[in-house]
Symmetry: D2
Subunit: 469 residues, 4 copies
C-alpha cells in the first residue's frame, strides 16, 4: 500500500486549477503555491507588509497601514480582470494598486503602495512565492532522498550488472546505485535550501532604486519590510541586477537534473527485457487498459518530462539577466512566468520522484540473473587478476581476452571456455575459478561507499531544509 | 485614433482566462486559441474525426460515429478533472475517452477511440490547435508587415543616423530601417505559413504506429481522418520522429526574433535622449501615474519580453526530439505545454508588434537634429570622397581624419574645422563643402532598396498566409 | 568490411586540426570545412569577389581587382595573429584588410575592401562556409537515409516488439522502424537543402546598409558579388535582421534531433538484455580493452553527444536575433562561433549516423525471441478480436484481460492460460489461437507504410541535395 | 594610461592559439588554461596523481609511479593524433594511456592507469582545468568589482537620470549604479569561489564506480588522489550523477549575466545621444578607421557577445544531467567541450569587463545636462511633495500632473509652467521651487546604499577568491 506522502493523488490545493496537463506537471503541493492566485496573494502580502513597515518607520499612519493590510486578501480581487488591465501599464501591479485603493477610504487609499514601484511588489511577491513553494518542494526532495537512503541500506549487497554506455560492464550493487542518487539529491537539495535561506530577498527601492519616496526613512522601511515577510534584506535594491533569480533558477535546474537521472535509470531498469525494477504503481497508476500486461513507468516518465523542460527555462532566466539601467525594458518581464514555471516543474518532478522512490519494487533475483546471463564476461577482469599471479599480468590478460572472445562468439559461459584452456587448467581448478568469478567478490568498495553516502545523508538531515513556509 | 486591429484591448476569447500576466503575454487572439479549453476541444474534434473517418472506411457503424461526434463538445467536460485524472495514465486522453464513452450508449461507447492510441489524439489536437492559432497569428504578422511597408514608403526620404554598435555611423533613412524590418517579417512569416500549409499533419497509428486496430483499412482511415480535420496526411505515423513539431518551433522562433529586433529598435529610438520615435499609445497605454511625463514603450517592452522567452522553449522542443522506440518515455510529454506556449508568446508578440508598428509616431525633425548634432562627423567619409579628386585618396583621408579628431575633441562641427584647413581651402569652398556634407546626398541605394523590399512584400502578399482557421 | 563512406577514419582535411575531442565531434568531412582556416579563406574569397564585382561594375579598376584576388589565399596569413589583432577593432576583418592591403602596391591596396564594412565580409564568409559544409553534410544525411531505406526494405517483414514508454506494446517490424527514421531524415534533410539553396545569401551594404560606398552602382555590385560566390542575392542587406542565420540554425537543429532519435533507438536495441541490433564496428571501433566482451555502441554515443549540444546553440542563435539598429552591439558577434559549431556538430552527427546505419547489424532471431518472451501478452488485443465474434467485444475484452493478468502474475504464456479458460475453449482451439496470436498477422499496415516511406524517399532523391560545394 | 591588468593585449599563453575570433572570445588569461593542450596536461596530471596515489597506498610500486609521473608532460604527446584516435574508443584517454604506456618499460607500463576508467581521468582533468582557470577568472572578477567600488566611491554624488524601460524616471547617482554592479559581481563571484573551493572534486571509481581495481585499497587511493591534485574528495564517484558540473555551469552563468548587465549599461551610456560614459580605449581599442569620429564600445560589445553565448551552454550542461546507469551513453560526452567553453567565455567576459570598468570615462557634466534637458519632469514627484503640505496630496498631484503634461507638450521646463500656475504661486516662490526641484535633494538613500555596497564588498574581499591555481 502506498504510504502517505506530500501529494494526495495530484489534487491541486483549493483555488488553483491543475489544468489539462496538471496530472503530469502539477503533481504534489507546489503547483498550488505558484499559480496566479498564489502570486496575487503574495503581491497583496507585499503591499500589506509595505504599509506596516512604512507605519513602523513612521512614514504613514498606523491606522492606514492596518486598513490597507485588512484588504490584502486575494479573494477580494479578480485575477483575470487584473491581468487584462495589466496591458496598459505593462504589469498587473498598477491595476491592483488602483483596485486596492478603490476599496479604501482616504487617507488610507492615498498611502497604498506609497514610495514603492511596481517592480518592488512583483519581485517581492515572486520571492515570497518561491519561499512558500520551496518549503514543500524541499520536503519532497528530502523524502526522495530518504527513500534512496532506505534503498541503499536495504540493497547494500544486492548485486547487479554495472552498465556503461548501456552495456553490461562489471558488477555493482543496487545499494551503490541508490547511494549515487542519494548523494546527487542531497548535494543539489542542500544548495537549493541555501538559496531559500539566504538568496530570497525582499525588493524595495522605489522608482529608480533610491528609496526616495520614504521621507528619508527608506532604509528602515526596507529592513522592516523584509522582516515582515521573512525574506532576506538585500544590500541594495536589485531591480536590474538579477543575481538572485539566477541563483534560484540554477539551483532548481540542478535538482531537476538529478531527478531526471533517477527517472532515466528506473525507466531503463523497468524495460521488459531488463525487469530489474518497476514502479509500485498504486491505485490505477501506470496501467494500460488497451494493453493489460503493461505496467507503465508513469512516475519515471513524468519526472523525465518535467526535467526535460527545465534547462530551457533556466537559459531563459540567465539570458534575461542583462537588464537595462535602473529597470529593464523586457528582460524583467521575461522572468515572471518562467520562474514560477521552474518551481512548478521541479516541484512536480520532486513529488513524482519521491513517490517513485518510496514505492520502487526491486527484483534482486532478476538482477543477478541478468548478470549471470552475460556468462561471466563482466568478470573477465577478475579472471585476469586470478591468473596473473601464475602467468604474469600480460599473459593472463591475453589468455582471458582470447577466452572472452570465444565465449562471446559461441554464446558460452566464460568459465567453461577458460576451463578448457590448458594455460588455465594448470593453475586454477573449477572451484578456484568459481571463486574468482563470483560477482560478490568483485564489488570493490561498494559497501563502504554506501556507508559514506548514508553518513553524508545523516549529516545533511540536520540541515533544516524541510520546514514549511 | 487606434485603427481596428485583430486585438481588442487584449480581451481573451470567451472561455479562456488571460491570467495574471495575460496583459503582456496573451495579447491578441492567439492566447484564446491555445488554452486548455481550446486544446480539449481539439482533442474532441480529433475523436469525432476519427469516428467519422472510421465509419467512412466501414470500420465502425455510421450511427455510432455520429453519436460520438455529437458528444464531442468541450463544454460537456471538466478540464481540471481530466487533468487530475491524467496522472494515473500519464495523459488526459485516457480519462477523456472514458468520460466520452460514459456519455454514450453501446455500441457507440465501445467504438470511441477505436484503433487509436492516446498520442494519436494528443498529437492531432496539438496540430489542430497550431493550425487554428496560426491563422490569426499570421494575420497579425501580415498586419505588422503591412505597417512596416507603409512606414518604409512614407519615410523613404526621412534621414537619420545609421547606428552601429550603438554609435552613430553614416546616414540612412527611416524608410530603409522599416524596410529591413519588413523583409525580416516577410521572410519568417512566409516560412511559418509554409509550415502551416504543409507541416501540420494528422497523427494516427494506433498503439505502435502500425494502424493494426483498423481491420486492414488503416490507410484509408488515416486519409479520411486527415481530410476531416484539414491537416496534412503524413507519410507515416510520427509518434517518435518529431520533425514536424521541430519545424513549427523553429519557424515560430525565427518570427519572434524578428519581432524582438523591431521592438529593440523602437525602445532605443524612444529613449528621451534620442526621441526619434515613440509608441502611439492609445487609451491609457504606456502612461505612468507616478511619472506623468513618461510615455513608456509598453508595446516594445511586451514584444521584447515575449521574444526573450522563445529561444529556451525552442531548445526544449529540439532537445525532446530523440524519443525512444515507438513512443517516448518523457520526451513527447515534454512538448505538450511548450508548443502551445510558443504559439501563445509569438502570438502575443505579433499582436503587440502589429499595434506598435501601426501606431508608431516618427519624429523626422528630431532624426535630422540628432544627426546634425554629430557635427558632420558621420559624413567624414563623404568629405574624403570630395577631397580625393584634388588630393588623392590617402592625403584626403589623412586630412579628414585629422579634422575629425579635432572636431570631436573641441566639440565643433567638422565643416568648420575643415574650412580652417589650408589643404581644404585651396580646393573646396563653403558651398562645395555643404554639398559634400549633405546627408541626403550620401544615402547610396537606400531608396532603391526600399523599393526592392516593397516589391518583395507585394509579391509575398499574394501568398495566402492571412486566412483564418 | 566497412564500405567506403564520406569519412575516412575521422581524419581531418589538410590544414585543420581535429582537436582533442575531434574523434567524437569532428567526424567526417564537415569539420575541416568550418574551421578557422576555412573561415579565413572564405573571408578572403569574399574580399576577392568584392573586388571583382566592383571592377565588373566599373567602381574599381580591373587590374586592381585581379591583383587583390591573387593575394586572397589563406596560406598567406596567420590566423592567430589576425585573431589577436581582432581585439582592437572587435573583429578580425579590420586586421585582415590591413594585412591584405599591406601585401599590395597602390592603387590596388587602396581598393581592398572598398565600400564594404567588416560585417559584409564576415557574414558573407559565414554563408560561404555554410554552403561548402552543407554539401557533404547533406551528402552524409542522404547516405544515412539511403541506408535506412535499405534497412526498411530488407526488414519489411522482420517482426519485433513495438515499445512505448520503454515497455513492450504490440508487434511492429524493424522495416517500419527504419522507415520512421527514413522519413524523419528525409523531411529534415530536404528542409536543410532548401535553406542551402535559397537561404544562404551574400551580405553587402557598407557601413550602415545603404551601399553608399559604391559610387551609385551598389545594387549592381551586390548582384555581381552574390553571383561570384554562388550565394543568393538578398532583397536588402541583413546586417541586423537575422532571419537567415536563424533559418539555418533551425534546419540544422531539426536534422540533429532526428539523428539523435536514431542513435537513441540503436543504443537501446544494443543493450545486452535486448541485443536486437549492434554496431558493425570496423577496425577497433567500440572495443574495450579492459572489458573484451563489450562492443560499445560508439557511433550511437557519438551521435547522441553531438545532438545533445545542438539545442542550446540553436537557442543562442535565436536569442541573438534582436540586434540593435543598423549593426549590433554584441548579438552579431555572438553568432560567429555557434553557427560554425552547429555545422561541425551536425556534420559529425551525420557522418557518424551514416556509418552507424550503413553498418548496423540486425538480429532478427533475437527480435522474435524477445517478443515471444512476453508470452503473447503484446498480442492480447489480437486475442480480444478473435474472441469478439463469439462473445461480443465487452466479454471478449474482459476474458482476455483476466487471462493476461494471470499470465503476467504466473509468468506463463497467454496462450496457455487462455486455453484453460472455459469461455475460450468453447470457441477457439489451439490452432485457432495460434493463428490469432501470430505476431505476423497483427502488423496492420506496416508493410504498406514501409512502401509509402520508400516511395517518398525515391521522390526526395530526385532533389539535388547531395551535390558538393 | 591603461593600468596593468591580468590581460596583456589579449595574447594567449604559450602553446595555445587564440583562434580567428580569440580577440573577442579569448581575452585574458583563461583561454590559455582551458585549451586542448591544457586539458591534455590535466589528463596527464591525473594519470600521474593516480600513479602516485596508488603507490602511496601500496597498490603499485613507487618506482613505477615515479617513472609514469616523469612522462606525464603534454609536450611528449600529439593532441591531434590523440583526438583522431579517440574515435575508435569514443574518448581520448584510451589512446593516451596506450601512448603513455608505450613510452615506458615494464613493469611501469603495465601500471599506467591501473584501476581507473577513462572517465576518471577525463572528469578529474576537467575539474583540474576548471580549478586552474577559475583562479585568474575570479581574479578578473575581483578586479572588476574593485573597479566598481572605486567608481561607486568616486561618484557617490554624481547625479544622473535613473532610467526605467529606457525612459528617464527620477534622479539617481552614478555611484549607486556602480554599486549595483558591484553587488551583483560580488554575489555571483562569491558563489563561484565557493564552487571552486568545495565543488570541484576528483573523480575515481573504476569501470563502474566501485573502486574494484585497487586491491581493496580504493578508498585510500581516492583520498590520496584528490589530495595530490588539490581537488575535493567526493563522497562517491559521480560518473553519472552530475551535480558538480551543473553547479559549476550555473555559477558561471550567473557571473556572465551580471557582466552582461554592466556591458549593456555601458553601451547604452556610450550612445552619442547620451554620451554619459565611454570606454577608455587604450592603444587602438575601439577606433574605426573608416569612421574616425567613432569610439566604439569594443569592450562592452565583447562582454555582451561572450555573455550572450552562455545561457545556451548552461542549458546544454543541465540537459545532459540525466545520464544512464553507471556511465552515460552520450550525455557525459556532451559536457566535454561546453564546460571548457563556459570557462573560456566567462573568462573572456571577465577580462574585458575588468578592463572596461578600470578604464571607464564618466562624464558627470553630461549626466547632469541630460537630466536637466528633461525640464524637471523627473522631479515631478518632488514637486508633488513640496505642494502637498499646502494643498493636500490629491490636489498637489493633480496640479503637478497637469503642469507636467503642459511642460511635455510645449517642451518647456516644469519649473516655468508650475510658476505660472496660480495654485502654486500662492504657496511656493521661485526659490522654494528650485529647492524642491533640485535633483540632489531627491536621491533618497542613494549615498547610504553606496556605503552598504562598499561595506559588503570590503567584507567579501576577505574571502580568498583571488588566489591563483
Amino acid at each position: 500500500m502506498r504510504p502517505p506522502s506530500s501529494t494526495s493523488e495530484g489534487e491541486p490545493p483549493p483555488g488553483e486549477a491543475a489544468g489539462l496537463f496538471g496530472g503530469v506537471f502539477a503533481r504534489g503541493p507546489v503547483a498550488g503555491l505558484v499559480g496566479d492566485r498564489a502570486m496575487l496573494q503574495a503581491m497583496l502580502d507585499a503591499e500589506a507588509a509595505l504599509a506596516r513597515a512604512s507605519a513602523g518607520a513612521g512614514v504613514i499612519p498606523a491606522a492606514a497601514a492596518e486598513a490597507i493590510a485588512a484588504r490584502c486578501d486575494a479573494r477580494r480581487f479578480d485575477v483575470d480582470a487584473l491581468g487584462r488591465a495589466a496591458a496598459a501599464a505593462g504589469n498587473p501591479v498598477v491595476p491592483l494598486v488602483r483596485a486596492l485603493a478603490g476599496q479604501l477610504p482616504e487617507p488610507a487609499a492615498g498611502h497604498v503602495h506609497q514610495g514603492a514601484t511596481s517592480q518592488d511588489v512583483l519581485d517581492t511577491a515572486a520571492m515570497l512565492v518561491a519561499r512558500r513553494a520551496l518549503g514543500p518542494l524541499l520536503g519532497d526532495l528530502a523524502g526522495a532522498a530518504a527513500a534512496c537512503a532506505r534503498l541503499a541500506e536495504r540493497h547494500r549487497g544486492t548485486v547487479l550488472a554495472g552498465r556503461t554506455l548501456l552495456q553490461q560492464a562489471v558488477p555493482v550493487t543496487f545499494g551503490l546505485k541508490a547511494a549515487g542518487w542519494l548523494v546527487g539529491l542531497d548535494e543539489t537539495r542542500l544548495r537549493l535550501a541555501e538559496v531559500r535561506r539566504a538568496g530570497l530577498a525582499a525588493q524595495l527601492g522605489g522608482a529608480a532604486g533610491t528609496l526616495a519616496g520614504f521621507d528619508g526613512r527608506g532604509l528602515e522601511v526596507l529592513a522592516r519590510f523584509a522582516a515582515e515577510l521573512g525574506l532576506a534584506e538585500p544590500t541594495l535594491p536589485w531591480h536590474a541586477v538579477r543575481a538572485r533569480p539566477a541563483a534560484l533558477a540554477g539551483a532548481l535546474g540542478a535538482c531537476a537534473g538529478v531527478l531526471g537521472k533517477v527517472a532515466r535509470d528506473v525507466a531503463l531498469l523497468a524495460q521488459n527485457e531488463v525487469a530489474e525494477a518497476r514502479e509500485g504503481g498504486g491505485p490505477g497508476l501506470g496501467g494500460s487498459s488497451a494493453m493489460p500486461h503493461k505496467r507503465n513507468p508513469v512516475a519515471a516518465v513524468a519526472v523525465a518530462a518535467c526535467a526535460a523542460r527545465v534547462p530551457g527555462l533556466v537559459a531563459t532566466m540567465l539570458a534575461a539577466m542583462p537588464q537595462e539601467h535602473e529597470r529593464a525594458a523586457g528582460g524583467w518581464h521575461a522572468e515572471w512566468e518562467p520562474q514560477r514555471e521552474l518551481l512548478r516543474l521541479v516541484g512536480s518532478a520532486a513529488a513524482w520522484g519521491r513517490e517513485l522512490l518510496e514505492e520502487l519494487e526491486v527484483d534482486a533475483d532478476r538482477m543477478r540473473a541478468n548478470l549471470d546471463a552475460a556468462g561471466g564476461l563482466p568478470l573477465a577482469e577478475a579472471a585476469v587478476a586470478a591468473l596473473a599471479a601464475a602467468l604474469g599480468r600480460p599473459a593472463a590478460r591475453e589468455t582471458v581476452e582470447r577466452a572472452s572472445r570465444r565465449a562471446a562468439e559461441q554464446g558460452r559461459p566464460l568459465r567453461e571456455v577458460l576451463l578448457e584452456s590448458p594455460r588455465v587448467a594448470g593453475h586454477l581448478d573449477a572451484a578456484d575459478l568459481d571463486r574468482a568469478l563470483d560477482p560478490a567478490a568483485h564489488l570493490g568498495a561498494a559497501a563502504a561507499l554506501v556507508d559514506r553516502a548514508l553518513a553524508a545523508h545523516a549529516a545533511a538531515a540536520h540541515h533544516p531544509t524541510e520546514e514549511q513556509a
